[in-house]
């Protein structure tokens, strides 16, 4: 339960830290770390407006998306606390629960009948297809490395003790940072701040959402970012099986977890400040290179486990 509290705390500060970092990097004061949550709160108190061309799909999609993200969140160990839901093969479940949420968002976007949203849905579907192999090759390699197939036991048995296995840790962190950017529609693949619907990927799909629906979508995206942050943070924490069940060690672990989440969000902010986004047709190429990084991890694991 401490784990769940930790991820909610990091989700709470994550978007604000990114925005604040970007503001500072461009010489502005920034609106404050809590601004994204003020926005979500404002939206949550508003009613939703539905176009007459939309059906029930459009109305339920934001809830399903949020439910899917929360569901995926429960499968992760945070700060190496035991996961709430855990079973063999939950790695696959995790990926497809997230996909379910996205699938409904795509349907909802098409439901509006707007040419922009159809275009955005098309891009979102295409790019997530390209991102999937990278995730599975990474998780497959880690499963092979630890000989376990649930997040909980993978992270429990993950030790980076020598050079080879540290290489896995570094590459996996790099990969997860980039995948978080793709999954959450951030730079360099998408630009979350643009007002130009023709260049959007994810944002254009939510053009018709308003009020509580929009609040749910934004809440889901902050959670999603925190989920990727903790996938990375867990690499650097001692597994709970080797922790002496002492409050001091637990507190240390929690602090390290939050610090890593913080560093992750500052890094995202900096990554977004000093570069331009990609041309749309360069995106698939970039996302596919993530798979090749995953393949390097895969071969490293093969070497370590002496399978080749």
């Amino acid at each position: 339960m401490i784990g769940l509290a930790l991820i909610l705390i990091s989700a709470f500060f994550f978007p604000g830290v990114i925005l604040q970092t970007k503001a500072k990097a461009s010489g502005r004061y920034g609106a404050g770390i809590l601004q994204p949550w003020k926005d979500i709160w404002r939206l949550a108190r508003k009613g939703s407006v539905y176009s007459t061309t939309t059906t029930i799909i459009f109305q339920i999609a934001p809830s399903i998306n949020l439910a899917a993200v929360i569901c995926a969140m429960l499968m992760l160990p945070f700060a190496n606390q035991p996961a709430i839901l855990s079973f063999d093969g939950d790695v696959v479940m995790f990926c497809y629960v997230l996909s379910l949420g996205r699938f409904f968002m795509i349907l909802a976007a098409m439901d509006t009948g707007s040419p922009f949203e159809g275009m955005g849905a098309n891009r979102e579907a295409l790019f997530s297809v390209f991102a999937e192999p990278a995730f599975f090759i990474l998780m497959g390699s880690l499963a092979m490395f630890t000989e376990h197939t649930s997040f909980d036991s993978i992270y429990q048995h993950l030790y980076f003790e020598d050079y080879f296995s540290s290489l896995i840790g570094i590459l996996a962190s790099y990969l997860l940072v980039q995948m978080a950017m793709v999954e959450n529609s951030r730079l360099p693949v998408d630009d979350p701040t643009t007002h130009l619907e023709l260049t959007m990927i994810h944002e254009v799909m939510t053009l018709d959402n308003s009020g509580i629906d929009m609040a749910m979508l934004q809440f889901a995206s902050t959670l999603k970012f925190a989920i990727f942050g903790s996938l990375i943070a867990n690499f650097f924490l001692q597994p709970h099986s080797v922790l002496v069940a002492s409050p001091v060690a637990l507190a240390m672990n929690s602090i390290v977890f939050l610090v890593i989440q913080f560093i992750f969000s500052v890094m995202v902010g900096l990554l977004e400040s000093f570069r331009a986004r990609f041309k749309m047709n360069k995106n698939p190429q970039f996302i596919l290179t993530l798979s090749s990084v995953a393949v390097i991890i895969f071969f490293t694991v093969l070497i370590i486990t002496q399978k080749i």
Binding site: F116, L198, T199, A276
Partner: protein, 509 residues
């Protein structure tokens, strides 16, 4: 035939002539003259419009000669009735398409063999009232793989209204059609309706909000020319006006560079260029009380002559500006992620800009030297020549780098102005009543930051304005944007649109 005194009359920029001196040709002769002139590379049409005069319709054409600083004027008289058929010049010279479309729309003239005879802006006094913006004949392409995306008229950034229709194959744009004419101020009629000079000046400042100095300079030059005021020849006034014009150019160009960075999500460039614009427009405010230079230009003189204090502030401003601007533009135009968005994106070729008769920056980014400051100098450009910067690649990168180069050139030009302006005698004060020459025609060309601005005025027997004509550079250049988008990804539309940064209201008038 060309330059034949019988067919045309040669005048200079900001010159007034009597209406009776403009050769009145039958249409076939008018057509031949225009066609022969436009067939040569150093001639381009700066204005061609219809003007109802004593129960008939006069077509007045002004073709500029880029070699000898002259403008050839000739006219033709046709019956002012709807449905009259004339042979189209556009069929031979595509650049004439917008003028003929405008004449066709306003007076119901049918131009035969015109390849694209579509309404231009649906003004309230158009000839065919049953033709509305909802019945605009869009070009269409049939095919299973083809889809259409319509954007606007309500713009995402809530700027001005314009409808963009993309015909796409997947993410690739095959054709873009830009349909404007959503706002109707009838600004040319307002010039006649408003009788006071100050009212008219305010109108001129608001033809396009971002070119207040450019359009107003064209207006006051016309008034000074028609009224034959001594201010026309005042050197200090000319220098001050050029200074205001270049300040406007720098301000808008820096703002556009910032916006181009925003569109590719390059935050640093967006923030720094954006911050650099502020001191420039604030200087204009310090000078004349308005950041956009409104209030500085007045017929006959100015209320805000430049003084020693302003000159030393100017020195301060540019010492700081130049360093910072160089730093950020070197960083931006060498950053791989920015280059990959800018280079090769939305290319318009030299041939295309020549065909569409592009003016200003859009012409210069693709290798065509077209700059009124250079070919038909006005204000201080007659004394201190300006040599335009020209690039050849015609892509977003060229449009970005050209802005950078023009800012540098303008900065240097301002340095020269600054060194010379204080030794000149004081500029005159404005006048608010001008007696215009009766039955005359005057033309004024100004190189605004967007390009060639052309204003023409005609007076009646009593020396009152009988007709006023405004031509914004955007009239030509919107087609350039449409061409740039061909075989470009639809997601690159915003960056292309921003790199052209054309005017909606200047087109709609």
């Amino acid at each position: 035939m060309i330059g034949n005194a019988e067919n045309t009359i040669k005048i200079r920029n900001n010159e007034t002539i009597s209406l009776h001196n403009i050769p009145l040709l039958p249409y076939h002769k008018f057509y031949d003259t225009a066609s022969a002139l436009l067939g040569q590379a150093h001639y381009h049409c700066v204005n061609y419009y219809g003007f109802p005069y004593k129960n008939s319709l006069h077509l007045i054409c002004a073709v500029a000669n880029d070699h000898d600083r002259t403008i050839e004027i000739f006219s033709c008289q046709i019956a002012n009735e709807s449905g009259i058929h004339l042979e189209s010049l556009t069929a031979k010279h595509y650049a004439m398409h917008c003028y003929e479309r405008e004449i066709a729309e306003n007076f119901g003239v049918v131009f035969t063999n015109h390849p694209w005879l579509k309404p231009i802006r649906y003004p309230h006094d158009r000839a065919n009232k049953s033709d509305t913006i909802n019945t605009y004949p869009f070009y269409s392409i049939a095919g299973d793989q083809i889809h259409e995306v319509g954007v606007g008229p309500v713009h995402a950034g809530v700027i001005e209204p314009g409808h963009f229709r993309f015909i796409c194959n997947g993410e690739m744009v095959l054709h873009l059609e830009i349909q404007l004419g959503w706002q109707h101020r009838g600004i040319e009629h307002l010039f006649l309706k408003k009788k006071k000079l100050l009212e008219r000046t305010t109108l001129a400042e608001n033809i396009t909000g971002d070119t207040a100095v450019g359009h107003n300079l064209a207006f006051v030059s016309l008034m000074e020319s028609l009224g034959n005021l001594p201010a026309r020849y005042d050197k200090k006034l000319g220098y001050e006006r050029a200074l205001a014009l270049e300040m406007e150019r720098i301000g808008i160009h820096v703002g556009d560079l910032s916006a181009m960075c925003t569109d590719v999500a390059f935050q640093l460039g967006s923030a720094v260029f954006g911050a650099l614009r502020t001191p420039i427009i604030n200087y204009t405010q310090l000078w004349c009380g308005n950041r956009f230079g409104k209030g500085f230009l007045r017929t006959g003189g100015t209320n805000y002559p430049i003084n020693e204090k302003l000159i030393s502030k100017l020195q301060f401003l540019f010492d700081d500006f130049t360093t910072k601007f160089n730093e950020i533009s070197v960083y931006t135009f060498n950053l791989p992620s920015v280059l990959s968005r800018f280079e090769g994106c939305g290319t318009v070729t030299l041939k295309q800009v020549k065909l569409i008769g592009a003016v200003g920056m859009v012409a210069r980014m693709a290798g065509m030297v077209r700059d009124i400051r250079h070919t038909h100098p006005f204000a201080s450009y007659t004394d201190i020549p300006y040599k335009p910067a020209v690039l050849t690649t015609g892509d977003v990168y060229a449009r970005g780098v050209l802005r950078k180069m023009e800012i540098e050139k303008s900065t240097l030009y301002i340095q020269t102005l600054k060194q010379n302006v204080m030794s000149l005698p004081e500029s005159p004060k404005p006048v608010y009543k001008v007696n215009l020459a009766p039955e005359s025609f005057a033309i004024s060309l100004v190189e605004g930051w967007r390009g060639e601005i052309c204003h023409c005025a005609i007076t009646d027997e009593d020396g009152e304005l009988a007709h006023y004509k405004v031509k914004e550079p955007s009239l030509h250049n919107w087609l350039g944007l449409a061409l740039a988008l061909r075989n470009t990804e639809i997601s690159d539309f915003p960056i292309n649109n921003k790199s052209f940064d054309l005017s909606y209201c200047g087109y709609d008038l």
